[in-house]
Symmetry: C2
Subunit: 200 residues, 2 copies
Amino acid sequence: MPRLWSETIETHRHAVRDAALDAAAEVIARRGLASATMSEIAETTGIGRATLYKYFPDVESVIAAWHERQVSRHLAELEDASDRAQPSRRLEAVLEVYALHHRERADSALAPMLHPERVHHRSSSHGHDGHVDSAHQHLIDLFTKLIGERVQAGVVRDDIPPRELANYCLHALSAAATLESSAAVHRLCTVVLAGITRRH
Amino acid sequence: MPRLWSETIETHRHAVRDAALDAAAEVIARRGLASATMSEIAETTGIGRATLYKYFPDVESVIAAWHERQVSRHLAELEDASDRAQPSRRLEAVLEVYALHHRERADSALAPMLHPERVHHRSSSHGHDGHVDSAHQHLIDLFTKLIGERVQAGVVRDDIPPRELANYCLHALSAAATLESSAAVHRLCTVVLAGITRRH
């Protein structure tokens, strides 16, 4: 098989897979997590049910793949925010993007789908949860790295390991899900940062 | 019916109910949340299955009642810690007790049972969840009151509403569930407090 042809097939497969994940999100927003079926996902994707089964063995796998894609996109978004900011503003920028993302999740019709506990509940017997742990690990690593840089710069406290501070930040920022305005999210970020800032 | 007699019946009912809740916790620790049955809870309580049904219509109700009892006890424990401490140390004391409690929950064999999301999942169609929201409201109220006192004392920042700071504290302290030592829990409390402390 010539290389170009196999690339075309690969591209096609990715496109179908992506379309199926978009369709799954749509079906779940419409029906709820528990009532989504392979038939309806296939129909919404615009492919046959048999074709969908070539990509995913069951609804749980579609959900797990969708969730993995969301988490990867979110991580990419955070890394982007970090790269775009001045070095001295990177941590603040990532905190804000993370917190705002949490608030949007809470607003979304897909919120139940996005909740790792729920996804875990539906897919726990299928072993698709590794990506959630690994994504969480990436998040902790990203925050730990940015915090470590600010410790070096003498801005963040050095009496507590950066990884513990990263863990604190992620939990504290999840309060954004309950907030009503982006002004309140900004205030939350100020408080979270104050917690880790070195006192002079 | 003489008053004493009705009081005796009331006391007896409370004792049976309490014993059934203890038994439920034991059965769930042994079998897991999904496999607990009314028969096994009755047997572990030392009463007949028919008697248990006079108290609770199904396993979900037992779980909801158990959870409600745990949350009430936890709130009482926090209020105790607050009352026992010097006024200037009340907020710190309650933060520590709350955080340590979160860590113990994570350690416990009953952790899945204690997770409100899970309880919600098993009992969501039965309408027993009001107590979780109302307990959470009590927690927020308690933290808001203690934070308000420290704002008055000029120790806690006054640029952010006490209720938002209380919400931040509760989320940030939930990081305790992932920590391995009580020293780390203490460090977490230091960071959380630093977040809300007024800068001079």
